[in-house]
């Protein structure tokens, strides 16, 4: 046995057991040192100065960035340290919009909590706070810079975990702020609405956008029939809002609460997840048989889809065309329920209860509307549901569980485990392996795809066929895998991507847990426990789904199923309104030429093309007849370089092609002018 080293914290010996820093050792010892900018899954930043401790011989140091050493003598609450902490919090409060009672983070705000813990009764400093505009443009997230403590957690989360960097620090010193590029709004930049920023934000600077008022309004309207769908991950987390352990299964209480609040029907998104499994697995088996468009990426996570649309247009064909369970539910419900519930489709309101902020964005996309009516009307998060229950005055723990409504309340375990990273893959396997193998599975558990690592790989052999799987969570990991796919450095068949660490159970709409890793583990455990408790574990065993196909959808992957359950993707600009005017011809009538210089066109030589074009124009004295712009995306990245000459868009453009088009269009223009 190796000898354990110890250090002393406030007079007590504490073993050093591989902790990365002193802070973790101290917390292990049961002393909750306050921090703002420390997150165990992000890099150490060292800015909040709250975790200062006194180390004998070294003086006052930040424990987050101090490596624990044997024999260290650490004091965590000397008079000096308490004074510095108090001053730090007072300094923050002096530059803070102290409208705390009306802040969405009020209950879970760390700044408020800290002020209380440190007994700050008065801020001795003058307020230096200057009001700034609140950004409510994003469908998912509200950014209120007036409450920002500049701890940078959001910046690091977006950059390190999601590999995006949609927000960053700008300015310097007291002029520093966390903003999207060029101070634009969140809806104008590459934000994928995952909300991770809001879940790590210690204050109310970044919060999920609430749709609670809209839902109440619908519930209050007697003409409307309001129907709920509950996502799998919600049932194992909502209890935390009411002081229950993470992972406690509260499906019955949620149903009861929703019914009391006035919901007409309460259904389960897991039903739609079972549908997704069947459609997606069928699609996968087709691709696998034909050996085309592999690997297949999952499509349940809207942040991942937006991410791919922005950064990997060439991989869009690899993404499953299946809608996410939320949207499958929506389109099916809007199609089937008006008849069943005897209500006009315009008066049927579908409310999703999701662990996710991006689902709000997903539901608002035009492609998920039929005749101008959205398939899903409102999306509220687990947190928002918690608040609605509180507002209703219900004591959640005491509610008598109720069962969900049929048919969309029926699900198998496969549809439930969707909520954890690896769940979609396991559910698809339970279907596909039976399909390929042609015989019933004895054991339904594929433990190889479960776990917490950011990228997990597994190979499942069925009837001599190897199915190579990858399970990825966090978009920075997804980016790495996508690069490998692009470079053909891997041979996966199926890749599951979830944006949030841990999958949907770690979603940004979930209650904020003090110990995140622990909460995620327990919630996942709750989902797998639900799977075990349920009668059926494979989507193909969901007889309600089977009935739905038989009576309503027709064949799996058939025409109606395709219309209601599938979708398409398009490449997207990352950032709006940034075009470079390069040439403004002097003539009244001019030909417009746009050259894309976005990443994938750049890689394909658009810069070179632009050079040649400019030289061509100069040589031929055409400067006055042309307007040239360098633009950032034609959203046809797969076939770049893309340019447009007049109204013609040319893909895979070469210099020769461009000149030809140019001459042709100029000729046309001349003729029309003469006429």
């Amino acid at each position: 046995m190796t000898k354990t080293d110890f250090l002393t914290v406030d007079g007590r010996d504490v073993p050093i057991e591989g902790e990365r820093n002193l802070l973790e050792v101290i917390r292990k010892a049961g002393i909750d040192i306050p921090t703002f900018c420390y997150h165990s899954d992000l890099s150490v930043y060292g800015a909040c100065r709250l975790c200062l401790v006194d180390v004998e011989g070294r003086g006052i140091v930040a424990s987050c960035s101090t490596i624990p050493a044997p024999g260290m003598v650490v004091k965590t609450k000397t008079e000096e340290i308490r004074e510095i902490r108090k001053i730090s919090v007072e300094l923050l409060l002096a530059n803070h919009d102290q409208s705390c009672p009306t802040c969405p983070k009020s209950a879970s705000c760390q700044l408020q909590d800290l002020a209380r813990r440190l007994g700050i009764e008065k801020v001795r400093f003058k307020s230096t706070h200057k009001p700034k505009e609140v950004d409510r443009t994003s469908p998912s997230i509200v950014h209120d810079p007036n409450k920002c403590a500049l701890c940078g957690d959001c910046v690091r989360a977006c950059h390190e975990i999601q590999g995006i960097g949609a927000i960053d620090f700008a300015g310097r010193g007291s002029g520093s702020a966390v903003v999207p590029a060029f101070g634009k709004n969140l809806n104008q930049v590459e934000c994928v609405y995952c909300g991770l920023c809001s879940s790590v934000c210690p204050t109310g600077a970044l919060t999920p956008k609430s749709e609670v008022d809209d839902v109440w309004k619908a519930l209050d309207n007697p003409k409307k029939k309001v129907v709920a769908q509950i996502a799998p991950a919600v049932r194992v987390a909502l209890g935390e809002h009411f002081g229950m352990e993470p992972g406690t299964i509260t499906t019955g209480q949620i149903a009861a609460a929703l019914k009391i609040m006035g919901f007409n029907q309460v259904y389960d998104t897991s039903f739609a997840a079972d549908l997704t499994v069947i459609e997606e697995a069928t699609e996968f088996l087709q691709r696998k048989t034909k050996g085309e468009k592999l690997p297949q990426f999952t499509s349940c996570c809207p942040s991942w889809v937006k991410f791919a649309e922005q950064y990997y247009p060439e991989l869009l064909q690899n993404i499953s065309s299946c809608r996410s369970p939320q949207q499958m539910f929506g389109s099916l419900a809007k199609d089937m329920l008006p008849e069943k519930l005897e209500v006009d489709v315009r008066d049927l309101v579908i409310v999703s209860i999701m662990p996710c902020t991006a689902k709000k964005f997903e539901a608002k996309q035009a492609k998920f509307q039929a005749n101008g009516i959205p398939d899903v009307d409102h999306v509220i998060t687990t947190q928002e549901l918690g608040r609605m229950i509180e507002e209703s005055g219900l004591s959640f723990k005491q509610l008598e569980p109720e069962s969900l409504d049929m048919p969309f309340g029926f699900k198998t375990g496969a549809g439930v485990i969707f909520g954890a990273s690896g769940g979609v893959t396991e559910a698809v396997l339970r279907y596909a392996v039976e399909k390929i193998g042609g015989k019933k599975l004895d054991s339904v558990e594929f433990k190889a795809v479960r776990g917490e690592a950011g990228v997990r790989e597994a190979t499942v052999s069925v009837a001599g066929v190897d199915v190579r799987l990858a399970v990825v969570h966090g978009l920075a990991n997804a980016r790495r895998v996508a690069e490998q796919v692009k470079a053909k450095e891997c041979t996966y068949d199926l890749i599951e991507v979830m944006t949030c660490p841990g999958g949907c159970i770690g979603g940004a709409g979930q209650p904020i847990a003090r110990d995140r890793a622990d909460a995620k583990r327990l919630r996942a455990k709750g989902l797998y426990a639900t799977d075990k408790m349920l009668e059926f574990h494979k989507s193909q065993e969901n007889h309600m789904v089977a009935e739905c196909y038989a009576k309503h959808l027709g064949n799996v992957g058939g025409e109606k199923a395709h219309h209601l359950l599938h979708t398409g993707y398009r490449s997207r600009k990352r950032i709006r309104e940034t075009e470079l005017d390069l040439l403004n011809g002097a003539n009244a009538k001019k030909l417009k030429v746009d050259v894309c210089v976005g990443t994938s066109c750049m890689v394909r030589g658009s810069q070179q093309l632009l050079h040649q074009l400019i030289r061509y124009l100069e040589e031929h004295g055409l400067q006055n007849d042309i307007d040239i712009k360098a633009t950032f995306c034609f959203e046809r990245c797969g076939r770049g370089p893309t340019i447009s000459v007049g109204d013609t868009v040319i893909e895979k453009c070469t210099f020769e092609k461009a000149c030809k088009a140019l001459d042709k269009e100029l000729e046309k223009m001349k003729i029309s002018q003469q006429a």
Binding site: H159, I164, G165, A166, I167, D168, F169, A170, G171, R172, V179, P180, A181, F182, G183, V189, E190, R574, I575, T578, E579, L580, D581, L582, L583, N584, G585, A586, V597, G598, T599, M602, Q607, L610, H611, I614, E618, Q623, N624, I628, A630, F632
Partner: protein, 169 residues
Amino acid sequence: MPQTLKKTTQRLRQFEKVCEILDRYQHDPMKLIPILQAVQDEYRYLPEEVLAYIATSLGLSPARVYGVATFYAHFALEPKGKYIIRLCDGTACHVKKSIPVLDALRERLGLSEEKPTTPDMLFTVETVSCLGACGLAPVMVINDEVHGQMTPEKAVAYIDEIIACEEKK
């Protein structure tokens, strides 16, 4: 209109120059600061579209490039005047009364801390922490030309001289 043509030709040249700069630094994101410096030399400020272009070509997020551009005092995101007047407010200059010089300049040109550039884009007045010419305090720099032992009167005289000169043109 030869003026328009001149302008667009200049714009094209500038863009070509940006591409050239990016090539020279081999699209290396570590070289962001020298790239921004070189690009600013070309445009005299950093236009938003150009920053977005630089971000894309370096594989950085635009927010990160914007963050760097707004961190350093030398980078300007707004166009500056033809004559950039920098008044040193380092310790030596400060104790030798640089602020009255600054006030006189601002008053003469109708400028303030919030409004550093004249509407005709002729002058920008800013302070700088130290030019390291403390022996000559207080110091004023017009573009790259250093003028020492400044007084409010001398400073205003320089401005008048430039204005007279520009008007002749």
